[in-house]
Subunit: 257 residues, 2 copies
Amino acid sequence: MPPATTRSTPERLSRPQQVAEAIKSWVVANGWSPGHRLPSETALIERFGMAKGTIREAIRILEAQGLVKSRTGPGGGVFVHSVSEERATALLGNYFYFQNLTIDDVYQIRAVLEPELAASLAGQLSERQLAALEDVMTSYREPAGTPEEERAQHLASLRFHALLAEMSGNPLLRFLIRFIANMLADITVSRRLYAQPNRELWASGLDYQSRLLAALRSGDSDAARQILADHMHNAHRLMRVQETVLNQRFLPEGDII
Amino acid sequence: MPPATTRSTPERLSRPQQVAEAIKSWVVANGWSPGHRLPSETALIERFGMAKGTIREAIRILEAQGLVKSRTGPGGGVFVHSVSEERATALLGNYFYFQNLTIDDVYQIRAVLEPELAASLAGQLSERQLAALEDVMTSYREPAGTPEEERAQHLASLRFHALLAEMSGNPLLRFLIRFIANMLADITVSRRLYAQPNRELWASGLDYQSRLLAALRSGDSDAARQILADHMHNAHRLMRVQETVLNQRFLPEGDII
DNA sequence: CCCAATTTGTTCGTATGTATC
DNA sequence: AGATACATACGAACAAATTGG
């Protein structure tokens, strides 16, 4: 179940890594699906002729990648597992931890993905799904009073976008939008954006989202696309302002950005 | 250096996993950068009061995520490592292995990301970079005769897009486009698309790319965007045709799609 | 409720491999 | 070449968790 690892750097692998790769291709070759039980530790020890510790390290490698899960006790063992969205998000997040993205980078992508998502969902949602979206919106019907409320509302608005993505039939689009929303949530928290209430962002966000819901309901794909394009443009502009404000406030005090 | 793991499912972690998480936050807290050496195994054994095997499994977990690398010998040890693009690609690929994407899914994303990339690069590239792009183009100046050549040319055209992405200053855009190109290369191989030469795709691809280079050179951002939008639309259409042909050819023989 | 069987989880001691000086 | 410092691997014993009787 792991895509064949395209090895461009032919560096020697440690034995646990070799075993992990061998198990991977074994699973793929046999077409084993999530839930299938792999041979027991002792069986693998015999199969590969290696010590217990080596085999266990191999299994840990696969577990870290989210490809297997192991349980103790009778009926236990190591089981093929489909990589969860949470795991994939965390693993990919590790990569971008070292790439120090800017707000501009993130919004360049959001600005094209979110409108595409909105357009593709117009006229496709059930009344139940539309109701769920309206439900999230209610959590920021009132302007925030405190910074805590402000932050909570911002996270709720990100949840709105994540929920919207959830409704897409495209797994790739779904993952990317949710991943970016998560990353944005982390950035906002760690950089302490939204420390001061920003009533303009709140008002414009609420307005855009209600207009979006109308377009989604009526099936007006072009309108939905345009509404989200405008929204992203606006949100980007407002976040850049806040980032500037932030740097001016915190940098002199030696705080991390 | 790993983003704080947001744990929504409070399941108990095994000791190696606990240690791995502890080391992660330890690295983040101390702000250790790639290249920094972690304490030796024996030091970690004392530090955590656990057996060697447990510590080693923890390190395997971090290594599988691409966050550390270990070397033997004097001056060796475990070192903080920035997650490589290859590693991130492989790990994310594991996730989508279980999501069975369609050609439509992939092209819905390509159709918005590639034009955005082209637009953002117009007028930004050096003569040297433009020359490198032209260089890749020469590898499919002639129409393919054999299926092998056909496949090689298709992979070269994907490399053209990957190279273009490489030139973007946006790490997120860069990664996404290269990831999708890689995935597309895998899909085309595993599904045996392009088994029969498709001269139309070859001709249109070559035409689009030379027009794109002109737009990039002259700095016409809108033209570059439009050219790639058209190209994606066309490539998508042609790949759907081939996928249909493929299914009709191979499915009766019991081959996997 | 406890006991027994099964399977992973953990420990320790020792030995081997590998790169640096 | 040899000594040193480190990860790597082995093996046997013991512990913990889970399931079923």
